[in-house]
Amino acid sequence: MQTPAPLADYVRATSVADAIAQLEKYGEDARLVAGGHSLIPMMRLRLARPEALIDINDLDELKSIKVEGNEIVVGAMVRHREVLDSPLLFEHYPIFRECEKVIADPVVRNRGSVGGSYCQADPSEDLSALGSALRGSVVIQNSTGTRTVPMREFHFGPYMTQVGDGEILTEVRFPIRPGAGSAYEKVERRVGDWAVASVGTFVVVKNGVVEDCGIGLAAVGAEHFCVPAAEEFLIGKAPTEENLEQAAAMAAEGCNPSSDQRGPADYKKHLAKELTLRALRRSVQSSQGA
C-alpha cells in the first residue's frame, strides 16, 4: 500500500468565501480537494505533500451547468460524469460528450471535477484542449473579488496556472455559437491512459465558408493547447479537404511534442495533424450551416 506523508489538517469548506479564508489561513502549503483523483494519488506517491486539505465537496454553489446570456457556465465542482450526461452541453457542443467519453474511466469520471481538471493543468488534459478549442474562460475568485481569464491565457506551463495562493477557480464559461459543429479525437495506448495526443475542434460554416473555428490540442506541446495560426488560415475559406489538410498541417507545425513511452515526437506530430484533420472533417459535417 502506498502511504502518504503526514497531513497536519483537513477541513470542509462551507462556502466559497470560507474556502478562500481557509486557503489564506494555511498559506501556500494548503490544497483544495475536489474529486481527489489527481491529488490523492499524488499524495500517496508522496509527489504532493500538502500541509492541509480544504475539502470543497460541500459547495453546492459550484455544482451547476447553466446558460447565462450567450455563455454556458459550468461550475468548478461539476463532475466529469455530469458533463458527459448533460443534454445542455451536448445540444450546443457534441464535443463535450465525445471528449468526456474518453477521459479516464467511469470510476474517475464519477468523482473527478471540471475545476480540478483545469487546475491540475496536466499537459495531456483533455478538458484543456476542449476549453482552448472553444476559447472558453475561467473565473477565479479571491478575498478581494473575481476575475475572468481567457482559457488561452490561463496556463503558465505544465501544471502551472493563473490560480494563485488564496484563490479558487469557481466556474468555466464557454461562448455559445449557433450552428457550430464540433468533434473530439484522441489516441491512447489503452482506455484510461493519458492521451498520446488529442484534438478537439469546432467549426461554424456559413454560406459555404468557415465563419469561425477553434482547434485545441493536448499532449503535443501546443502552447496554451492551441495553434491560432491554423485557425486563422481556415477562417474565411471554404471547408474543402485541401484547406482542412492545410490547417491540420499548420496545427501540427505549431506543436512541440516530446518523446516518451507513449510515443516518439515524430509520431505525436503526425497525430497532431491526423487527429486535427479528422476532427475538422467531422466538425464541418455537423456544422448546421454546412
Partner: protein, 815 residues
C-alpha cells in the same frame, strides 16, 4: 481413461466427478471475506518499509540512519552492515547480507558494497505503523557514488562495459550456470547448420532469419508480495504468513538461509491474490521480515506497494532472439536455429529446474514435424531487477512458442503462402505420438490438425480472408493471426528435474472420516486456480464422495505434505495425479474392508461410483460411506489390512504432459493512428480430460487477456540512466475489458496417456499461446505496407512506426 460421460449430481447439485461446478472459493471472495497476508494482524505486530536505491548502479559510500532512528515510533533500522554482523550457521555464506537465488547465484538481501538495480533494497525500517516506517525511510541519508549502468543487454558483453558483479570477482558480465557453462545449447548444432546451409544453396528452398525480442514484462498480480513473520522465542518456532506459490519449497530455502530445521518453521500461505510466477522466488523483503522478528522479538509485517512490486520482484522474458528457419518452396520446414541473448538482471534469480538453465525454451521446435533444431542461449547480467521466469510462462515455453510462431509467419510471408496452409503442411500427425522432438522432448499425445480445423471452423476462416480482401481493396486493414502451440507442463520427472536439489514430485494425504466425509491435504498452492473445487472433484470422481463433503487443505506446511508448489501449470499434472493415485489407494483399502464385511473375496467385488458390490449380485454391496464407518468400527479385518481408509501418496510424474491449442486472432488496424482493435479471438485448447470445464475456460479467459496485454501494451523498458520506465500502473499498462473481445472458445480432448485421469496442465496455455496470434494478426494487417516484424508491445506509436519502416526499440526509452 477419459471422463467424457456426465457425472451424476450430488444432493447439493454438484457433479460427483468431472463437470462444471461453481468455485467453492468464490463464496468468500465475492463477499470480500478472503484472508490475504495483509489481512493478518498479530498481537504486538510491527510494520516495516524498505529504502530502495534510486540508482541502477552506484557504490554505497556511507549510510546515516540516525535521523530515522530518532523518529518517534521507529523500532529499528537495519542496513547491509547490520546483516553482515549477524553470523549465519549455514553452508550458504557466513552472514545474512547475501542469500542464495533459485539458480545457485547470490543476491543481496540489503546492499552492502553497491546497488545494482533501481529499486534494490538498501535499508529496512521497523516501526509501530506503516506510515511511520515510510516517513523514516525518507530520513535515511545514503551517500552514493554513481557508476555507469549497463542497461542495454546487447552491450553488456562489450569489453569496456562496466562490471556489475565485482562482488564475485567477475571481470565481465557473463553468467556462469551451476554446471559451469556460460552458454547453454540444445539440439543438433551440426545437423541444423548443415541443413540450413544446404537450403541456402538450393534454389528450391528458402531460408528466413528474423530478430525477435520478447521484451521484459511483469506478472503484476493484484496482490503484491508480503509476509508476516513471528519467531516465538519460547518454542523457537518461526511462523511466517507469506505470499508464496510454493510454501514447502520456501520453507526449505528459509531453513537453509537461517540454519533452522524445517520443523521449527511453519509457512502459511493464506489466500493468495494472483501469482503467475511472481510469488515463486524468495525476495529480500521476506527474509527481512524474518530478520525483523529475530531482532525485535515481535511479529513483523512487510507488504510492498505497487511500485515496489513492479520494480523489484520477478520480471519475465527479456529474451533477445535471432531465429533462422529453412524450408522448401513448397513449405516443408527443414530446420530451425536460434541464438538467444538472455537478460537476467543483476542477480541470476531465474526459477527453473537445475538441469535446464534456459528453462524449457528448447521446446521451440513447436508443433511441427522437422528433423533439425538447435538453440544457443547466452545469459548476461545487466543493471535491472532479477527474475526471469514468471508471468505464466511454463519455464520459458512462452518465449519458445512466440519464436516459432513468429518464424512460421515470417516464412509464410516469404513464401507468399497462407499461414494456415503452411501450418497444416507441417503439423505433427496423430500416428507420430509419442513423438520425440529434435531437442529431446517426448510429446505424449496430440491430434493437432483436428484442433486446428475446429478453430478455423469457429473462425469461419475462408470468409475472413474474403472479407480481408474486400477491405484491402477499400483501403481498410484487417489482419488474421494464427498461433499453434505445444507446451510441456507438469515438472517433473525426478530423474531430470529439481529446484535447488529438491525433486519435483508432490505428496498428498487423503483422510476419510468415519462418516464418509474426507479431507485432502495438498502440497500445491492455489493463487486463483480453484484447487479447493477441482481437487474435490478428482476425489469425487474416484471414490463417489460428494464434492461438497471433501475439504481441500493447502497453504500450511504444518498441515500438508511436502511438494514443490504451483507454477509452470504443474498442479494438475503432478498433484492432481497424486489426488487420483491416493484416492485409488483408499478405494483398494475400501475393497478389502467391504470384502470382509460381505464375507467374500476382494476379487469377487466390482466397483461402481461410490460402491463395491458382489459380482453378479448388485444388491449385495457397501457404499464408500458404509465402508468408512466399518473401517473405523469393530469389524474383523483380514490379516495385513490396517484399520481406517486413510492413505498418502507421492507422485513422481513419468513425463511432462503436453497440452496444445490453436488460437486465431482478428484485428482491425487504423494506419493513420496505428491503433489496433482486437475484434475477435478464437481459442481451441486441448488439455486432455477437463476436470471442471468452467474453471478451464476461466483460466483461458485470463490468459488471453494477458496475451493481448503483452502483445499490445505491457513492457518494462529502461532509459540509459537506468530508470525503470514501467514502475507504476500509470506506466505499466494492463488490458481492461475494453481491449478484450468476447472470447470464442472451443475444445478437443486428447487425454494424456500417462496421467491417471488423462489430464494435462492448462493454467498457462493461453498466456503462452496468445501473444503470437495477436502479433501475427497485426503483421498480417500490415502486410500491404511490406511490414514483416515489429516487437511487442504493438502500441499505436510502434505500429505507425512499423508502417514507416522504423519500428520502435521497445526495451529502451522511446526516442
Amino acid at each position: 481413461m477419459t471422463a467424457v460421460e456426465e457425472a451424476p449430481l450430488s444432493p447439493a447439485g454438484n457433479p460427483i466427478g468431472f463437470g462444471n461446478m461453481k468455485r467453492v472459493e468464490d463464496q468468500r471472495f465475492i463477499r470480500g471475506e478472503g484472508n490475504y497476508v495483509d489481512d493478518v494482524n498479530l498481537p504486538g505486530m510491527l510494520h516495516s518499509a524498505i529504502l530502495r536505491s534510486p540508482y541502477a548502479h552506484a557504490r554505497i559510500k556511507s549510510i546515516d540512519t540516525s535521523a530515522a532512528e530518532a523518529l518517534p515510533g521507529v523500532v529499528a533500522v537495519i542496513t547491509g552492515k547490520t546483516l553482515e554482523g549477524i553470523p549465519r550457521p549455514s553452508l550458504l555464506g557466513d552472514n545474512f547480507a547475501w542469500m542464495p537465488t533459485l539458480s545457485y547465484d547470490t543476491q543481496a538481501v540489503l546492499a552492502t558494497d553497491k546497488v545494482r538495480f533501481q529499486g534494490q533494497e538498501v535499508a529496512f525500517v521497523i516501526a509501530n505503523d506503516r506510515y511511520i516506517a515510510k516517513d523514516a525511510v525518507e530520513l535515511i541519508d545514503v551517500d552514493y557514488e554513481q557508476l555507469e549502468p549497463v542497461m542495454d543487454a546487447k552491450k553488456a558483453m562489450e569489453p569496456d562495459a562496466p562490471v556489475i558483479r565485482d562482488d564475485k570477482g567477475q571481470t565481465d558480465n557473463s553468467i556462469t550456470d551451476v554446471h559451469g557453462h556460460k552458454t547453454w545449447e540444445s539440439g543438433n548444432a551440426i545437423g541444423t547448420a548443415e541443413a540450413i546451409a544446404q537450403a541456402e544453396a538450393d534454389p528450391n528452398c528458402v531460408v528466413v532469419t528474423q530478430e525477435i525480442m520478447y521484451p521484459r514484462v511483469h506478472p503484476a498480480p493484484m496482490e503484491t508480495c508480503g509476509s508476516v513473520s513471528y519467531l516465538d522465542k519460547v518454542t523457537g518456532q518461526l511462523t511466517m504468513y507469506t505470499t508464496s506459490q510454493a510454501p514447502h519449497a520456501h520453507r526449505t530455502v528459509y531453513a537453509m538461509v537461517a540454519g533452522l530445521p524445517e520443523h521449527k518453521i511453519r509457512i502459511i500461505s493464506p489466500d493468495v491474490g494472483g501469482g503467475f510466477g511472481n510469488k515463486v522466488g524468495v525476495y529480500p523483503g521476506y527474509v527481512l521480515s524474518v530478520i525483523g522478528t529475530i531482532v525485535t522479538g515481535k511479529p513483523v509485517k512487510w507488504m510492498e506497494d505497487r511500485g515496489e512490486n513492479l520494480m523489484s520482484t520477478s520480471f519475465a522474458r527479456d529474451y533477445h532472439m535471432t531465429g533462422t528457419i529453412a524450408a522448401t518452396k513448397e513449405g516443408k520446414i527443414l530446420a530451425v536455429d536460434v541464438d538467444v541473448l538472455a537478460d537476467h538482471g543483476a542477480f541470476n534469480g531465474v526459477a527453473q529446474p537445475t538441469n535446464y538453465p534456459a528453462g524449457f525454451f528448447h521446446i521451440f521446435s513447436g508443433s511441427y514435424d522437422y528433423p533439425h533444431a538447435h538453440c544457443k542461449v547466452t545469459p548476461v547480467y545487466t543493471n535491472k531487477a532479477p527474475g526471469g521466469v514468471a508471468y505464466a510462462c511454463s519455464f520459458r515455453i512462452t518465449e519458445a512458442v512466440y519464436l516459432i510462431e513468429r518464424l512460421v509467419d515470417c516464412l509464410a510471408a516469404e513464401l507468399n503462402m497462407d499461414p494456415a496452409e503452411l501450418r497444416l503442411k507441417n503439423l505433427l500427425r496423430p500416428e507420430q505420438f509419442p513423438y520425440t522432438s529434435p531437442t529431446g522432448w517426448e510429446y505424449d499425445s496430440g491430434e493437432y490438425e483436428k484442433t486446428m480445423r475446429v478453430a478455423m471452423e469457429i473462425a469461419g476462416y475462408d470468409e475472413l480472408r474474403k472479407e480481408q480482401e474486400e477491405k484491402r481493396a477499400r483501403g481498410e486493414y484487417m489482419g488474421i493471426g494464427f498461433s499453434f502451440f505445444t507446451e510441456g507442463v507438469g515438472a517433473g520427472p525426478r530423474k531430470d528435474m529439481d529446484i535447488l536439489g529438491l525433486g519435483m514430485a508432490d505428496g498428498i494425504e487423503l483422510r476419510v472420516h468415519p462418516t464418509g466425509k474426507a479431507v485432502l491435504r495438498l502440497s500445491v498452492q492455489s493463487q486463483g486456480q480453484a484447487h479447493e473445487t477441482t481437487y474435490a472433484q478428482i476425489v469425487a470422481h474416484e471414490l463417489g464422495i460428494n464434492p461438497e463433503d471433501i475439504e481441500v487443505v493447502h497453504g500450511d506446511t504444518d498441515q500438508t505434505p511436502f511438494g514443490l508448489g504451483t507454477y509452470g501449470s504443474r498442479s494438475t499434472p503432478v498433484s492432481g495425479a497424486a489426488a487420483a493415485v491416493v484416492s485409488r489407494k483408499v478405494k483398494e483399502r475400501a475393497r478389502q474392508v467391504a470384502a470382509a464385511a460381505l464375507e467374500c473375496s476382494p476379487d469377487d467385488l466390482e466397483w461402481e461410483l461410490g460402491r463395491w458390490y458382489v459380482k453378479g449380485d448388485k444388491e449385495r454391496g457397501k457404499t464408500i460411506t458404509e465402508i468408512a464407518l466399518l473401517s473405523h468400527g469393530s469389524l474383523e479385518l483380514p490379516e495385513g489390512v490396517e484399520g481406517h481408509l486413510d492413505a498418502t501418496a507421492v507422485y513422481n510424474p513419468p513425463n511432462l504432459t503436453y497440452p496444445y491449442g490453436c488460437y486465431i486472432c482478428v484485428v482491425d488496424v487504423d494506419p493513420g493512428t496505428g491503433q489496433v482493435k482486437v475484434r475477435r479471438f478464437i481459442a481451441v485448447d486441448d488439455c486432455g480430460t477437463r476436470i471442471n470445464p468452467m474453471v478451464v475456460e476461466g483460466q483461458v479467459h485470463g490468459g488471453l487477456a494477458d496475451g493481448i496485454g503483452m502483445a499490445l501494451m505491457e513492457v518494462i523498458a529502461f532509459d540509459e540512466d537506468g530508470n525503470n520506465l514501467g514502475g507504476s500502473f500509470m506506466d505499466y499498462l494492463l488490458p481492461t475489458s475494453m481491449e478484450c473481445p468476447t472470447y470464442e472458445l472451443g475444445e478437443t480432448v486428447t487425454p494424456s496417456p500417462h496421467h491417471p485421469i488423462g489430464a494435462k496442465g492448462v493454467g498457462e496455455s493461453a498466456t503462452v499461446g496468445s501473444p503470437p496470434a495477436v502479433v501475427n494478426a497485426v503483421m498480417d494487417a500490415l502486410a500491404p505496407f511490406g511490414v514483416r516484424h515489429a516487437d511487442m508491445p504493438l502500441t499505436p506509436a510502434n505500429v505507425w512506426r512499423a508502417i514507416q519502416g522504423n519500428p520502435i526499440r521497445v526495451d529502451m526509452a522511446v526516442e
